[in-house]
Amino acid sequence: MGHPAIWPSGDFAIGSVIFGVLLVAAWVAFLLRIRKLINLLRLGQPENRFDHLGDRVKYFMLMVLGQRGVLRDPLPGIAHFFTFWGFIIIQLDALNLWAMGLHFTLPVLGSRVFAVLLDFFVFAAFLALIVFAYRRLVLRPKALQSQSHSPVDAFIILGMIGLVLVSLFFFEVFAYIATKGEAWTPFGARVGGAWRSMPVGTASALMSVAWWANVLVVLSFLIYIPNSKHLHLLATPFNVFFRNYQPKGALQIIPNIEEREDYGVHTINQFTWKQLLDGYACTECGRCNSVCPALATDKPLWPKEIILAVKEELFAAGGMLLVSAEGAEERAKTEPMVGGLVGEESLWACTNCGACVEICPVSIEHVQKIDDMRRYLVMEESSFPQEVTPLFNNLERNANPWEISNDTRADWAKALNVPTLAEDPEVDVLYWVGCMGSFDQRNQKVATAFAKVMQRANVRFGILGPEESCTGDPARRIGNEYLWQMLATQNIEVLNGYGFGKGTSEAADSADKPNIGADGHSGPDGSGDSHSYSGVGVPPGRAYDVKTVVATCPHCFNTIKNEYPQLGGNFEVIHHTEFIDRLINSGQLKLPQGFDLRKLTYHDPCFIGRWNDIYDEPRRVLNVISSNGVTEMRRNRNRSFCCGGGGGRAWMEEKIGKRINNTRVQEALDTGADAMAAACPFCISMFEDGIKAVEAQDHFGVEDIAEILARALDAQPVAPGGAISAPSGSPESGA
């Protein structure tokens, strides 16, 4: 049973001794390298990634063992699946072969069942290799082209895996001949059967050659992998295990900001150990590059290159740090990471849209790193695009981005009879208008429309007026953490003052809720259950059961919901598209179904979509109001393409490359839609500009969902609870 002896007993001493020495040497080299890699990680800052252990184990099974992430891209995905499992099984067989070299047989691994499994995977992995080589040599997807790394590494590994497979296969073949058909391996037996006439002695010798070839390649693998880009083979499973379980829309807080000596990241050891591990885990697959809106419009931002720069800096500067702090300090001065390996222009080009984080199959978090380095530039160097200075000054002085008195914040609502909380503190719902809704003429129309929708639904709501300050989101995303903390603290006090704070136990509960990862989404084709109301968690007849904050701005919504808890502010906050969806579901808002006869497309704003997984609610609402349903753009839901306004970009000039907003408007026009529905004031503002830029304003427009609804309600004025029929159960889909 199993494999035969690979050399006559006479050679035992020499063969085994040589092999034994090589085996030990390779393992020592491997373990020394691993120790260095771990020591480098230990240079990083502490970060707790041991929360949600149960979820971590589950996710690990799914993504690593099940290969769910890579399988989303079918051709390389399936090939990867077989390479991955082939690799694992071949490694197990390596133990078998090593044992053979030392003249003993392992249980289980030496069995026939394993031999068959091995035989199958050798064959499957070989096919997969051909797929990979074809993809790199013939298809050459843009994502795989690297700015700073040569493809040589990739071919070395493909070649080595190929050698392992070939040597293993021929070992099976010659073993079959040498043992006269005793070894039981379907593919090996087939070829071996054809060569049965070969003398046993020749077969034994060739078997030895194949064995040595295999053993030597596998042992060199052991040394090569942790020293090459294929480090990811070792690091990825850990990186997936240690993925983020905090709300994904939240940036990490800088605690005790007034007592620190450094802010953000500009030397490698200021990253956390997990951020450094991201560098090891990067497989250089380039998916992040392929979805980046900045890169797609010719800006100098390659998300993959940022991650690789972190890794390169860790090996260079981190390696020096392990030896002496002085050398590393000197390097930080002469070859700084920020401004050197990572260009400042790259950092400022990022819209924080999160497409890179969302698509990364190995749970790398690009945006936090980019914003960490922005924090350094803003708070330590005071170096940022000049046009941002007035933004910061106005946020400090006027609590809004403009040189406008915050006392006029409620002026837009004067004619609408909307109370401020100072006038009526007992309201059920606080409408968080945001600066855009309050001051920006275009978005005042959205605020007005949403107020009318709530009035029609008999919602008892109010606004804060001058007591509302900017949430601080643009400041935080640009890197001014200090200003965000000041504004957030102020807003939290106001909200708590009006009784919107949640009890601590409830707050802890919701903060503990794991966010749904990349695997939790329905497909990018918009085929999720967008027409069913069954998933909404509020009982019919009531759209809200606690004091609720509703925001029309996804940026306000995201920071209040996901980031204010970092400063002790815990509120029930929802986006207005969610709220409208609940109002329809509960029967509180009756819409003239199919009223809007236009062909509509819908743009997913990044800060409710990717960062908060709100994809279905806006579509459900549109499917009620529109007779045509939603016509999807090429990139939609979690693959949506940013408007260009996030990450503080709305406050910066877009000087390089094509304009992101125009690109997206063109994509919307390509659907043949009459109008674009949106759900974010920044998207609306960016697209208004984009529509004019591509001269489509005569036949195309952008509207907030609330505006589309308000028009329908205006056109058919009825008393609340009146005659318009809108089934409260399951409205028919317009699709």
């Binding site: 007034e258 005071s382 941002v388 200075t389 006027n398 008195s405 915050n406």
Partner: protein, 258 residues
Amino acid sequence: MKIVMCVKETPSTTAEKRFGADMRLERRKEDAIINPFDEYSIEEGLRQQEKHGGETIVLSMGPATATDTIRKALAMGADRGVLVSDPALAGSDAVATARVLAAALQKIGFDLVLFGSAAADAYGGIVPSAVAEFLGLPLLSFATKLDEDGTTAKIERQAEVGYNTVETQTPALVSVMKSINEPRYPSMKGIMQSKKKTIDTMSLADLGIESGTVGAGASGEKALSAEKITTQRKGEIYMGNDGAAERVVAFLVEQKVL
């Protein structure tokens, strides 16, 4: 080189202006900011210091709470602050203020004094020249560029056509225009360090000024009334390719711009 930047605390430019019975502007602490014009003189002082070394000092006259405003200037990078504060100073007009600043400047000592061109509360713009008069020193006013080499100060001043170059021996006073630079936004390091920097407070007695010579009683400048002016901006948009350019040209000719 010793550079003193004179700074005023003013209400935010967006704050609603309210006047008391004596027609004096009511100043609310929460609205207080650095006079936006002074940010340019602070920046210019810091840039001169970066070039030539020496010390930068922020000088202000105001209520005791004006130290917060001085701290903001220190956060931008100035070395230390001096606040002249005295209850008897309340209601001082531009000339009285200049008298006090001149005395404080003499006490501090200086090679170069920098002012913003005016303050964003009353837009008087005469304090720099009044201080120069009290000190008997030259004032290079409305600078859009400043070169200083330790013995002479040279500025450029916008003229109707091109600019004038004006030069004088130091010590001298300079008032700057907004186009001279782009003021920096304080870094966190700057903000944290500013908390540890010293701000000396001086009273009238420290400066040897009789309280009868300053304050509301000694001020000849009186506000009689104030009213809110609302300006109506109107715009005309000429669209399309047909004749729009001609109409724009005609408009500009009519306005005597062309």
